[in-house]
Symmetry: C2
Subunit: 357 residues, 2 copies
DNA sequence: GCCCCGATAGAAACCCTTTACTATCGGCCT
DNA sequence: AGGCCGATAGTAAAGGGTTTCTATCGGGGC
């Protein structure tokens, strides 16, 4: 593989001149020399060595994106947004699926650091785990120190994200929409307790109810993991209470998907027996049975803004904070409650319950 | 950020010794010296510079995965498989969503090359485009030349993939299952003509029919793009013919998803009026309305095997070729045809047709 | 005619590791 | 006792580029 010195030799110039042409440096090079270098480049099929360049600049044009799981449509979409913006700037994107596992996260950050990645974007939410925060924090500080950009797309222990959405307002708006449909007793599939976004969304739920003058029934707030399994389990947990409710608000779409599946298994009709609402509007949301009412989050745009923040930081500017708007999308999983006063608790086949756990 | 020389200084040894400890080289270092180095490492929070190392080794532990779109569940799953295997080996994964765009693909390969990535995995299928093949081929050859591994997960102009599935047998098996249900006139949403996988799957369709002693009606084979839009369009195209059919076989799940959506819009019931089958078994397939019958492809495993091939090549061994098994999964989008002799062409609201194009 | 300056070119140092090669030191073999 | 060998340590080069600094050259100002 040709190096710059071979290019220089073939062009009959010094490596300095060749470098100046190739890297488009801000330094005068005569037209004749430039032309000869360019000719040599194409003749030798020269591709500059990003490692050598990076070694000198203490940085390579690579951005790592820390996600829970690239297979989760939420993160896939965000990563794609980052990628779109990054590619335009000549950056490569490294995907890091941590499964929210502290060790994996640590090891990814370490690898990224050893690679002198120019930036890390945390797409997923921070956890409320001081131990991890400490350790990752050390690495993150180390990266920042050498000029790398660190950007968050969700609230974290670092504070407000450089680009994010108003989770509280989003859920509150959905609760408002549900109330408007006539629901009074609304359950919440709240997701994990340790995840900051989940907590924000729970707060949105509380605010939404408060704004409608409704009280929160804590028995209708159930915490599970942030995935389909959690959604199914959430339904079982909810039905195991003796409380009645006519709508279920979920803090993300995956939860809603799992809830929908479990409800269908139990023979509980949506939205006739109970309404279900999600959050995020991942692409499958429109495809479920019935199509899921949810809160749209501009995920790809979020990713793009994340990279924009990276560019700003790398350019030495203050990153700033931008909040993207959310929008309530009412599809067919929500409807008016069956009765407007007392909301019947759906009858479930007892036999099915044991198996669900 | 601490460098190895600082570590060496603090430990009171030479950089050579420090390096030998840090990089776990196969060279004797006294226990005392080793301990002092390790202490210095943790004291300085030293992280080796992968760029310097890579510069010397002409390679960094990074593998690029070329996909159509990371947002497509098929690719997300494959990338995850690659990532799982790669992480275990200390490699980082770069996602490259090319949108099957020649320029993007070129530029990604170039970037990967400039980065001295140790490997490139082509997750998506090759296209039948000699111009692109040429150009990408040059870069790929360039990568191979410096010892980088190039692995394909789908048939390409390079020949058989290092890890893949038997697309022909897979579709043939699904056609067989459809025939067994009683279908005789089966339509095919064939996907793009230029994509090699799509072509293999069409061949599987032909073989499946041939094995059942059935003839292919070319009017029932329609080509569209490989996505949901293509599926919707395919339905319109099919209905625009005057041919009857009782089942629709799709060469991938996205097509089937689009078909399902369009059929629902047109008021055509699945599977009562027509059966629909997909291919790939992406995770949403089980969530659609009705749940999609499809052919399961072990996507994550495919990704893992892809990285395994990378490791073999990097280790100097011959890559070999492994074919992963597929499995027909019958869910609720397929059923017995309404009449077993003459299959009625579904009645569609004419008005809806124009809008679909 | 001389000095200074801008434009252009090149030499060499530097970024951080790895590693081939050289050096030192005991101990063991003969 | 001398030579040789194994274990351990260090020196320096190399890998490919960028950049600072120095050098050369021609021309304009006075």
């Amino acid at each position: 593989m040709a190096s710059i010195s071979e290019v220089a030799r073939l062009a009959g110039v010094s490596t300095a001149t060749a470098s100046r042409v190739v890297s488009e440096a801000d330094y005068p090079v005569s037209a004749a020399a430039r032309e000869r270098v360019l000719k040599a480049v194409s003749e030798l099929d020269y591709v500059p060595n990003a490692l050598a360049r990076g070694l000198l600049k203490h940085q390579v044009p690579v951005v790592g994106v820390i996600v829970h799981d690239i297979t989760d449509p939420y993160f896939a979409e965000v990563v794609r947004g980052v990628e779109d913006a990054a590619t335009a700037a000549g950056f490569l994107v490294i995907t890091c699926s941590t499964e929210r596992n502290a060790d994996r996260e640590r090891s990814y950050i370490r690898l990224l650091r050893s690679m002198r990645a120019a930036a890390v974007v945390f797409a997923g939410s921070g956890r409320d785990d001081p131990e991890l925060a400490d350790d990752v924090g050390r690495h993150v500080a180390g990266m920042r120190e050498v000029g790398a950009a660190v950007v968050h797309l969700s609230p974290s222990s670092d504070g407000e994200p450089e680009a994010g959405v108003d989770n509280v307002a989003g859920v509150a708006a959905m609760v408002g929409a549900l109330v408007e449909l006539g629901h009074r007793r609304i359950a919440l599939l709240a997701g994990p307790t340790g995840l900051i976004v989940a907590r924000d969304r729970v707060e949105g739920f509380r605010r939404g109810l408060a704004e409608a003058g409704l009280a929160v029934d804590e028995r209708l707030v159930v915490h599970t993991s942030f995935d389909r399994e959690g959604g199914a389990l959430g339904i079982d947990l909810l039905l195991a209470t003796t409380e009645s409710f006519s709508a279920i608000c979920c803090t993300n779409d995956l939860l809603a998907l799992g809830a929908l599946a479990r409800l269908a298994e139990l023979g509980i009709r949506v939205p006739e027996d109970v309404s279900v609402a999600g959050f995020d509007d991942i692409s499958v949301a429109a495809l479920t049975n019935p199509p899921l009412s949810t809160v749209r989050v501009p995920l790809r745009e979020l990713g793009r803004r994340g990279f924009a923040a990276v560019e700003r930081i790398l350019g030495g500017a203050a990153p700033g904070h931008v909040t993207l708007p959310t929008e309530v999308i009412l599809r067919e999983s929500t409807g008016t409650p069956r009765s407007d006063e007392v909301h019947l608790r759906p009858v479930i086949p007892r036999a099915a319950m044991g198996a669900a756990r």
